[in-house]
């Protein structure tokens, strides 16, 4: 991550910590609605292939 973005995130955190009400995290929850990606994942194999292609792209583009 570049320094400029890092700096913006830090500023954002500071403003948020002084002004925003604290609410609970929802990161452990699963989205209740399926989306278009979910509609073309029919099996564990589909999911595994997709995730493997995704990880490969990420590795090549770091």
């Amino acid at each position: 991550m570049n320094q400029r973005l890092q700096q913006k995130i830090e500023q954002y955190k500071q403003v948020a910590s002084s002004k925003a009400a604290v609410v609970r995290s929802v990161a452990d929850m699963h989205s209740r609605r399926s989306d278009s990606l979910g509609s073309v994942i029919r099996s564990k194999k589909d999911a595994d292939v997709f995730m493997s292609e995704l990880e490969s792209i990420i590795k090549r583009n770091k």
Partner: protein
């Protein structure tokens, strides 16, 4: 519609969770009202897609989730998206292995996301890996298409690094982002 991301011009959060997975802010609308938008980042509906999170935003529904299907007329859509994207990147900074998916569920939304990635390529490219996902149907050697038992073509998702040469009319079906 062209969206310009500028992290120097964002709305202050009205509420925020410690890990940036839930936040809200007030977005002025064209009719003069202030609308509280809820932003959530939750695990993908399909539990098999480990590490893929869904970004949703919109007015809070009765069930506590954002209504991300509603059409809104924001006074400053650049500022709305800058706020949402900075919050998403803050979430990813804490969770660098995760990916955030944004559903291009209809053409209007897909055009918006596609245009956003394209027009902010330079601004985001150093830190953000944008990914587009197309659907593909397999063609067999006899030139028939793969179909299910009732004859529907079987579409499969195929991700690729976002191709910035693709025009706004050549949309992906699904968009993803991750920190580099």
């Amino acid at each position: 519609m062209l969206i310009t991301i500028n992290f120097d011009d964002i709305y202050e959060p009205a509420s925020l969770s410690d890990d940036f997975s839930q936040m809200s802010f007030n977005a002025p609308q064209f009719d003069g009202s202030d609308l509280e938008l809820l932003v959530t980042i939750t695990q993908h509906h399909d539990e098999q897609l480990l590490g893929v999170y869904n970004l949703a935003f919109g007015p809070k529904e009765e069930n506590g989730e954002p209504d991300d299907q509603i059409r809104l007329k924001h006074q400053n859509i650049d500022k709305v998206f800058s706020t949402i994207i900075l919050n998403a990147l803050s979430f990813l900074q804490l969770n660098p292995e995760l990916k955030i998916g944004i559903d291009g569920s209809d053409d209007l939304r897909a055009r918006l996301y596609h245009g956003m990635f394209k027009s902010n390529r330079e601004y985001l490219q150093e830190s953000v890996l944008a990914i587009g996902v197309d659907w593909y149907v397999r063609i067999f050697r006899d030139y028939t298409y793969e179909q299910d038992e009732i004859g529907n073509f079987i579409a499969r998702p195929r991700p690729e690094p976002f191709n910035y040469e693709r025009e706004n009319r050549d949309l992906y079906r699904y968009y993803m982002l991750r920190l580099k």
